[in-house]
């Protein structure tokens, strides 16, 4: 049993490191990104990463209680996308 547990822990550690590296790549994109849309893509991707981090950490630390934030994040993952697309396309936000 403890063997399985250690396998899970190791996998989660490795996977988290990969996700962290991708987060730095997204930082590069948000700094460089020639257009606004590229920058929003980076924020979006970081938001997806956020949910994954929350799930992996709750699994790793064995505290399922705190993962409730994940559901809240995933409810408006697309909020910034639609805000900005409304901003670009329309004359007024309330239209």
């Amino acid at each position: 049993m403890s063997f399985l547990k250690s396998i899970v822990a190791t996998t989660v550690e490795i996977v988290t490191v990969i996700y962290l590296i991708t987060a730095i790549i997204y930082l590069f994109r948000i700094v460089r990104g020639p257009t606004i849309f590229d920058r929003i893509l980076a924020v979006d991707a970081l938001n997806y990463n956020l949910t994954v981090f929350m799930a992996l950490l709750a699994l790793y630390l064995e505290i399922p209680m705190i993962a409730l934030g994940m559901i809240v994040v995933s409810l408006w993952l697309y909020a910034l996308d639609i805000y900005v697309s409304k901003y670009i396309e329309f004359k007024e936000i309330g239209e």
Binding site: V8, T11, Y19, T22, I25, T35
Partner: protein, 124 residues
């Protein structure tokens, strides 16, 4: 017991595949040129790199013996989050792509544009 181990391994495999997808997507975001190529990479990493590992975590936490009393709680949250991501990621990407297409600066660089005729018709 064996079955449980198998399912946990399956979940771990899903998490690993998700990490692979995420790495590929991030590489795409880094290297691809043009916004529409990059949005393709990001949606790949959204579905493959977020939804898949969440399912994996759900499997592991639901079946792992050391998570027993509250593992189902985490599994339920992960499943719900997966469904929501599958539902909302395309919608967001669509809205973004549409508004990006309506920007003239981005459209200038296209080699071939199928929707130009459509746009002209709509304008009329």
């Amino acid at each position: 017991m064996n079955m449980v181990n198998l399912i946990i391994i399956l979940g771990l495999v899903m998490i690993t595949i998700g990490a692979f997808f995420e790495a590929i997507g991030a590489l795409g975001v880094l290297r691809l040129k043009g916004f529409f190529n990059r949005i393709h990479a990001v949606t790949t990493s959204a579905i493959g790199g977020a939804a898949l590992p969440l399912l994996g975590v759900a499997l592991v936490s639901a079946f792992a013996p050391w998570m027993i009393p509250q593992g189902y709680y985490l599994a339920g949250i992960c499943l719900t989050a997966t469904i929501l991501i599958l539902l909302l990621a395309p919608a967001g990407a669509h809205a973004l792509a549409r508004s990006a297409y309506l920007c003239k600066n981005i459209r200038k660089k296209f080699i071939y544009d199928d929707l130009v005729e459509h746009l002209k018709e709509r304008r009329r």
